[in-house]
């Protein structure tokens, strides 16, 4: 066990998988000498050489497209998109190619690649370095979309993604990179790519979240515990496909559900979560399913007061939780 930050856990996973399997290689912008603009690939080019860590030209569609071909040839690419906001020119390669290769070839070919990308805001990144892109990329059969919210999950989930035979979009919340440190096993381990995890047990209400807002929720839950309110908290981790059973179980347990995410409210993953509950845990519900999310505006603005206005504040989340608990 070593205490590591979220981003250190990611680097650790990359290094161990590269050492274990020589088919694994990294490509992306500035991932080599620079070690990535966030330093996730720091030191890896020195350790593994220029054919294992590739500073790709500035062209995201090619980064993903070349990764797909390399995967077809038997390699295990881990592509980095520098900011999630810049992934959109690769949409066709991700959705029409990577996600459909196995299906369209009737299982003859596959696209075992990982696309890592930092998403989310709150770091003065403004409209083009703060976006939550999960709503766009979830719902594409053949593609997995996952996001860890802590160092332990980051490492195990990334190793699982690299070993997976499916294409995985691996979303890293950039505000979490250095926000928290936790004990992480030194040896390699994997965590399931398609499972949510209970982060806190409770009986009065259920809050479902992922990524950065999960911490607001946990903070609120901790606070409300002092008021005698017991909160059950589920971290989705897998945003697509969703872990239906875990969602239904968590909702049924308390009968009162709040869903919180940073992505815009309308059209966000929370809609699908609510729909699952409203269909399959309906009779367990004791209150309307509440959602809180980012404002329905293009993204987080740059000016601090505007940036702050984008997300529901912890106070607001707590208020919604309290209201549900007392419902």
């Amino acid at each position: 066990m070593t205490v590591r930050s979220y981003i250190e856990a990611i680097t650790d996973a990359l290094r161990q998988e590269m050492a274990r399997d020589e088919r694994v290689f990294i490509l992306g912008e500035d991932v080599g000498k620079r070690g990535g603009v966030f330093r996730a690939t720091m030191g890896l080019m020195e350790e593994f050489g220029e054919t294992r860590v590739v500073d790709a030209p500035l062209a995201e569609s090619a980064i993903v497209g070349v990764a797909i071909g390399a995967a077809g040839a038997g390699l295990r690419p881990v592509a980095e998109i520098q900011f999630a906001d810049y992934i959109f020119t690769a949409t066709n390669q991700i959705m029409n190619e990577a996600a459909k290769i196995r299906y369209r070839s009737n299982n003859d070919w596959s696209a075992p690649l990982v696309i890592r990308t930092p998403y989310g805001g709150g770091i003065h990144g403004a409209l083009y370095h703060s976006q939550s892109i999960e709503k766009i990329f979830t719902g594409v059969p053949g593609l997995r979309v996952v996001t860890p919210s802590d160092p332990y999950t980051a490492k195990g989930l990334l190793i699982a993604a690299i070993r997976s035979d499916d294409p995985v979009l691996f979303l890293e919340h950039k505000r979490l990179y250095r926000l928290l440190k936790a004990e992480v096993p030194d040896e390699p381990y994997t965590l399931p790519l398609d499972r949510a995890r209970v982060k806190r047990e409770g009986d009065d209400l259920t809050v479902i979240s992922y990524g950065y807002t999960l911490y607001q929720v946990l903070e609120a839950a901790e606070h409300l515990a002092g008021e005698g309110i017991s909160t059950h908290v589920l971290d989705l981790i897998s945003l697509y496909p969703l872990d239906r059973e875990a969602i239904i179980r968590a909702a049924a347990r308390t009968g009162k559900v709040l869903i919180v995410h940073e992505d815009n409210l309308e059209g966000g993953v929370g809609g699908e979560v609510a729909a699952i509950i409203a269909e399959d845990a309906f009779f367990d519900l004791d209150a309307p399913i509440r959602r809180l999310g980012g404002l329905d505006i293009p993204a987080m603005p740059y000016a601090p007061p505007l940036e702050k206005a984008f997300l529901p504040q912890t106070e607001e989340i707590m208020e919604a939780m309290r209201a549900l608990a007392h419902f």
């Binding site: 030209p57 062209a59 497209g65 071909g69 290769i101 299906y103 369209r104 299982n107 596959s110 035979d165």
Partner: protein
Amino acid sequence: MDHRKASLRDEEVIQIYRTMYLARKLDERQWMLNRTGKIPFVISCQGHEAAQVGAAWALQAGSDAVLPYYRDLGVVLTLGVSPRDIMLAAFAKAEDPSSGGRQMPNHFSDPTLNIFTQSSPTGSQIPHAVGFAWAFKVRGEQKVAFVSFGDGTSNQGDFHEGLNFAGVHRLPVLAFVENNTYAISVPYHKQVASKTIAERAQSYGMEGVLVDGSDPFLVYEAVKNARERALEGLGGTLIEARVSRLVPHSSDDDDRTYRDQKELEEEKARDALGKMRTYILDKSLIDDAALEQLEKDVMDIVNDATAYAERAPYADPSTVKRYVYAEAE
């Protein structure tokens, strides 16, 4: 050109003609089946066969990676895809090796021949070929990645991004453009701003080669040379073959609104397949009787493939959900 200049044996020339002829006949048959309501869709190789067979003749089947596009019936037949396979795809039957009837016909795929699975969005296969070439290079394998596409497709971002990546790393990619001067209805001058596609190679530090796609020997030689250069580590080549699209874009198209029909008739009169037939007779590589027999044999194969595929079963609807994700073994 004379085939001996390209170091092709007489017997190979007969095989090249035979493959071109087979491609044409399989293609024509599909139009017939479409017009009689038996299959919903055809997209043709007609007019491209000489270029396709000539190009593929220079490849190492099963070893080189091949990423063809929807017109490349001649390419895949040369590599070893069978006429039955083609017809199974046309009829969308379960046994179709490219997709089990999931994709439209001519979306070729065959892992045993290292033909990578194709989609429909034009140009997306180009970066894939670059990825294959990357793997070949880092593993030190003596293989190239061959990728083909049309003139219009050379305007897609993926063409530019993919070939630049290949150029930076001098990867063994052969990018083969079948320039038929149309993208559906849009003629070359409204489509492509450069005089030739081949000259776009300059943007990628690559060789660019322009070749008459009605002569399979010239195309063969161009691809063979490019392949050798690539294997020597000298990087990829962008090869433009000038060809003629002898039929509408697809069975859903009608070219009369946009294409000068007289010009088209003239192109048909210059059909590379006919030219090739004349060539093998003129050079006495075959006599009339043997040629007739060869063509009859091909028709038998086409008939057999059609009959086989027509009778073959569709995939069971219960399979429709399979292979979205990897299945546990």
